[in-house]
């Protein structure tokens, strides 16, 4: 992994920024000419920081675009965003079914409520009932701020509930805060992937 990344680095264009990360790690962001996307990074020890796999369950293309942008602005180097556009696909992704056998275990799930096929409540309920996958933090990300919906989601076991702001600017600001909280402040559960092993 480290070798491959070094090659990418040498072949890449413009140097973007270098900054100190947590625990003394140095993060270096690069972008290929003409794109703004961060491509690779190094740490002091030349090991690649582990990516945080975020599963976004969202059917609104504008919101997918804005979320992706906010993630890049927050700390684009360490997040890998996966998108499922309906509730069934979300569960297939997590449970590695139907074409998703290679899907990584998400470290964080961002879940809309109004979704085709299965809504966010159903997805949340299935995840939080599962002995293994219930440990993955879920943040509801939805246009509804009706008290009933908020309380219902917390009762079903969501880890946090974030109401989508209507203005573009606020949306980006708020969305940046979500991955930052979960990756820098909270400790995410380890990547371990054997079902049931943690709840002995």
């Amino acid at each position: 992994m480290s070798e491959r990344s070094r090659t990418e680095w040498e072949g890449l264009g413009e140097f973007l920024e270098k900054r100190m990360g947590e625990e003394g790690r140095i993060t270096i962001l690069f972008a290929s000419p003409g794109t703004m996307e961060a491509k690779t990074l190094f740490t002091e020890s030349e090991e690649i920081m582990s990516k945080v796999d975020v599963l976004l369950v969202e059917d609104n293309e504008d919101h997918i675009f804005l979320t992706r942008k906010a993630m890049l602005a927050a700390n684009g180097d360490t997040f890998s965003l996966h998108v499922a556009m309906d509730g069934e696909e979300a569960l297939d992704f997590v449970f590695k079914r139907g074409g998703h056998s290679d899907a990584p275990r998400p470290d964080l799930i961002l879940l809309d409520i109004n979704l085709p096929k299965k809504d966010g409540f159903q997805v949340l309920q299935e995840l939080k009932k599962h002995p293994d996958y219930r440990t993955i933090p879920v943040t509801m990300l939805t246009s509804s701020d009706a008290y009933n919906d908020v309380t219902k989601c917390y009762e079903l076991g969501t880890n946090a509930y974030v109401a989508k702001p209507t203005s573009f600017e606020e949306f980006t600001e708020k969305l940046k805060g979500i991955p930052l909280f979960w990756s820098r402040v909270a400790a995410l559960p380890p990547k371990g992937d054997e079902p049931g092993k943690e709840l002995s």
Binding site: D145, T151, Y154
Partner: protein, 147 residues
């Protein structure tokens, strides 16, 4: 948006209480009113309004240490998350342990977030300040139940 947020801190370490109080007195934490109990049994007494906690508000958010006298944080967490009256209240584990098994245990029992306390004071304060920043400014807390 001026409504007060009642936070129950369950913590027996005086230095940590001091730092938490400080972090929750400014910025997004200024709206938070901190209530403190120093052991696990007192935490459940507070939640249930048992003596000497008659008339205390229901917390909007609980910050819970793991190592506690009488009942530890996991026992308190389990009691809260299996009780329909309290299940919706976000509980943040705030603990010195960052072992994988404790993190998994916390999330498995329904902790809303698990925060490992950094050893350095500065870093600890920074993480503490991030709590109201996220839970007050970014997230929406559940509606307070009127007793």
């Amino acid at each position: 948006m001026d409504k007060q947020i009642d936070v129950l801190l369950v913590e027996d370490n005086e230095d940590h209480i001091y730092l938490t109080r400080k972090a929750l007195s400014e910025g997004a934490g200024a709206q938070m009113k901190l209530h403190i109990v120093t052991d696990g049994e007192a935490a459940l007494d507070f939640m249930n309004h048992r003596a000497p906690y008659e008339g205390v508000p229901s917390p909007d958010l609980v910050l819970l240490d793991v190592k506690l006298p009488k009942k530890d944080g996991f026992e308190v967490l389990e009691a809260l998350k299996t009780d329909p009256r309290f299940r919706a209240i976000p509980v943040i584990m705030l603990t010195s342990s960052d072992t994988e098994s404790d993190i998994l245990r916390g999330y498995g029992l329904g902790s809303n977030a698990y925060i490992a306390k950094p050893i350095a004071f500065d870093e600890f304060s920074q993480k503490l300040r991030a709590i109201p920043e996220f839970w007050n400014r970014i997230a929406t807390l559940p509606a307070k139940k009127v007793p």
